[in-house]
């Protein structure tokens, strides 16, 4: 159980080595405003609190729990009462205590997102069911199998935010999911279903808000700046579990797929399950694995060891066989402008990347490096195979470091 599973400050452990923990017991708490609590996903004994490989590279302190197999729930886990009886503050508190973070991939703490500053009134809640990355089908299945839970979670989040309209955005390639939500919308005026064009990155929140409402999120802003909050459908389902059953976020659905696994499937796993166990559950490797990605093929992170645990924000595990992993050798830019056409944030990737390459950070910043959503479209379309996104990521990283340094 890594202590850095979310965007923001790492969690602070609340347990010690040798201590017995129960299923769902809070084992670490948020350290700062943007941080999240962590709960034991198995019952057993804490055997180690030490640095452990992290998907983002390097090592991050993790709490290792030896599973005793009893799955005995911790005390106080149970329904939190009906939605009508809960106040918005109580809902926020439940979400915070359950350690819920955005399950779409970025893992931003949900309680922060549903607590916008008073000067930014929220009009709409958008439930994001686009799932635009190839291979991933977790949200798709979730929308069909747990439609009611997602709707309940959406209602709870809407109550916490005080919004009157919940828009469910689903890509057109998931007709069953659209039909399921249309049923809900037919009997509940709160909901509205929109079927969207199938394209990448349809599920990026700023692009989704523009597509649904025609509102453009300002540079460096958040959807809250235009009166919208976007939540993933899986997050809504997790909120429903937290209210109806009292479960903290200890498990999630992931897609184990790619041509490098024997039986691609969606599995519900406990947070903290080693990636290798999930791959083994999907029948193991098909041929020699070449690359293992956590997340989708476009935004996923390649990991160097399958010892890393599944995180709260892990939406999938993609295995690419050895023969399919290509090595690219970048050649000079031919000024074709395809990256500019492809950029969903309307940036000029080539210009920002060139500034980054020359170390001209202020110029990269002026050209909107910080507005890059890191979707990878520019690099994907580049005929010269230039590592555009990689340079932009470097510029963003250095700009953030500079900002921290200057306070």
């Amino acid at each position: 159980m890594s202590l850095q599973q979310h965007t923001g400050g790492p969690s602070k452990p609340l347990v010690e080595v040798g201590q017995e923990v129960k299923l769902g017991q809070k084992i670490a708490d948020g350290s700062s405003f943007i941080s999240a609590a962590l709960h034991a996903s198995v019952a057993g004994k804490v055997v180690e609190i030490a640095p452990h490989p992290h998907p983002a590279g390097g090592e991050v302190t993790a709490i290792v729990i030896e599973n005793d197999g009893s799955d005995e729930w911790a005390e106080g886990i149970g329904p939190k009462g009906s939605l009508e009886s809960l106040s918005p503050e109580q809902i926020r508190e439940i979400v915070k205590e359950a350690g819920i973070v955005g399950l779409g991939g970025a893992a931003f703490p949900t309680h922060v997102k549903i607590n916008p500053p008073p000067d930014k009134p929220i009009e709409y809640l958008v439930l994001n069911g686009c799932e635009c990355e190839a291979y991933l089908t977790t949200d798709h299945r979730l929308m069909i199998e747990r439609t009611e839970d997602i709707a309940f979670g959406g209602k709870a989040l809407a109550k916490a935010l005080g919004v009157k309209k919940v828009i469910v955005g689903v890509e057109r390639n998931k007709p069953e999911a659209i039909a399921a939500f249309q049923e809900i919308a037919a009997r509940d005026d709160l909901f509205q279903v929109e079927s969207l064009e199938v394209k990448y990155p349809q599920g990026a929140e700023k692009q989704l808000v523009y597509c649904l409402l025609g509102r453009e999120v300002p540079s460096r802003g958040l959807p809250a700046d235009v009166g919208v909050v976007v939540q993933n459908v899986a997050t809504a389902a997790a909120v429903a579990d937290a209210i109806n059953k009292g479960w903290p976020l200890i498990k999630r659905v992931i897609t184990v797929s790619g041509t490098g696994v024997q039986e691609p499937k969606n599995v519900e796993v406990r947070v903290g399950t080693p990636v290798k166990d999930a791959i083994e559950f999907a029948g193991g490797y098909n041929g020699t694995p070449g690359k293992v990605l956590m997340g989708g093929p476009m935004t996923g992170i390649a990991v160097h060891t399958t010892e890393v645990p599944v995180m709260k924000g892990t939406s999938g595990i993609i295995v690419v066989p050895r023969e399919d992993v290509k090595q690219y050798d970048p050649s000079p830019c031919i000024r074709c402008g395809r990256c500019v056409d492809a950029c969903p944030a309307y940036l000029m990737p080539v210009t920002i990347a060139n500034f980054a390459e020359k170390g001209m950070l202020q110029e990269a910043d002026q050209y909107g490096a910080m507005d890059c959503i890191e979707c990878g479209c520019c690099t994907y379309v580049c005929p010269a195979k230039r590592f555009l996104l990689h340079w932009i990521q470097l510029a963003k990283h250095q700009l953030l470091a500079l900002k921290r340094q200057n306070g």
Partner: protein, 277 residues
């Protein structure tokens, strides 16, 4: 009157008018500068590297005259420049200016240090670090993409055939830009005459170091025990040398089982400072 004469006279008058205005303005709006600052700038190396912490050489020269910068503040110029500045400022020359050069605290080139993954991305150490912490198994060592060599304004760092940076100690001015550039903090400015260097910065346990690299410090403590001056201290599984105490005797070099400690016996001192255009 001929039109050519007319234009010559009128242009001449306009020219004379502006010349007078400019001459007057240059006296009235003259910015007072310390003549010593100009003299100091003259003798500075002129590399504008920024190693002194000021904006270029003129910034440093003004800093010295304003009393904000040390006379020996230019690491590139070293003792000679410090003496010359002292002469201009009319104060005693500093005696403790010793030339420093950059030393790389890693010996794990692509032959010695193993990789854990194949890397295909921007050939830059800082960028490689963003991809899962870089391709090398050792999470402390040199990544070998030469960000330091590109950053060095004096061309004193070159990459050898095994992708490890080599510092040309004669060309190195000790400006410290490589220290800043290396994302793994592998450069250290050390006084020139020091010849013994522990070229490893891995705080990992011995077993992990052995798995990752053939020349890493495994924390066996032999060097620390052997050192007659007690100049080597163990910090989290890593032998760290105290250059204040080290006498270049080389006793530690012989006992190191992994050849992590490099020794240049009777190191020649570079007398002449490099001229920088």
């Amino acid at each position: 009157m001929d039109v050519s004469w007319l234009s010559m006279i009128s242009m001449g008058l306009v020219g004379a008018f502006f010349a007078l205005v400019l001459a007057y303005a240059s006296r009235v709006f003259a910015v007072e500068t310390d003549p010593r600052a100009a003299a100091i700038e003259e003798i500075l190396p002129g590399a504008n590297c920024g190693a002194c912490g000021f904006t270029g050489c003129s910034g440093f020269a003004e800093g010295v005259t304003a009393g904000k910068a040390e006379i020996s503040g230019c690491p590139v110029g070293g003792a000679d420049v410090a003496n010359a500045i002292a002469e201009i400022m009319g104060i005693a020359a500093p005696t403790d200016v010793k030339r420093k050069v950059a030393q790389l605290l890693c010996a794990g080139d692509c032959e010695q240090a193993k990789n854990r993954a194949e890397y295909n991305g921007v050939a830059d150490c800082r960028a490689a670090l963003l991809v899962g912490g870089g391709p090398k198994m050792c999470t402390y060592g040199c990544l070998g993409f030469g960000t330091c060599a590109i950053a060095c304004p004096f061309d004193a760092i070159s990459m050898n055939e095994h992708d490890l940076p080599v510092v040309d100690e004669e060309a190195c001015t000790g400006c410290g830009i490589c220290v800043e550039a290396c994302p793994r903090d592998l450069f250290q400015l050390v006084e020139e005459q020091q010849g013994v260097h522990i070229r490893c910065r891995s705080f990992a346990r011995g077993k992990e170091v052995r798995q990752a690299c053939d020349v890493g410090c495994i924390g066996c403590r032999r060097c620390a025990r052997e050192c007659p001056e007690e100049a080597i201290e163990m910090v989290d599984n890593l032998a760290v040398i105290d250059y204040e105490k080290c006498t270049n005797c080389g006793a530690c070099v012989a006992v190191c089982p992994t050849n992590t400690i490099h020794w240049q016996k009777e190191k020649p001192e570079v007398k002449k400072l490099v001229a920088v255009s």
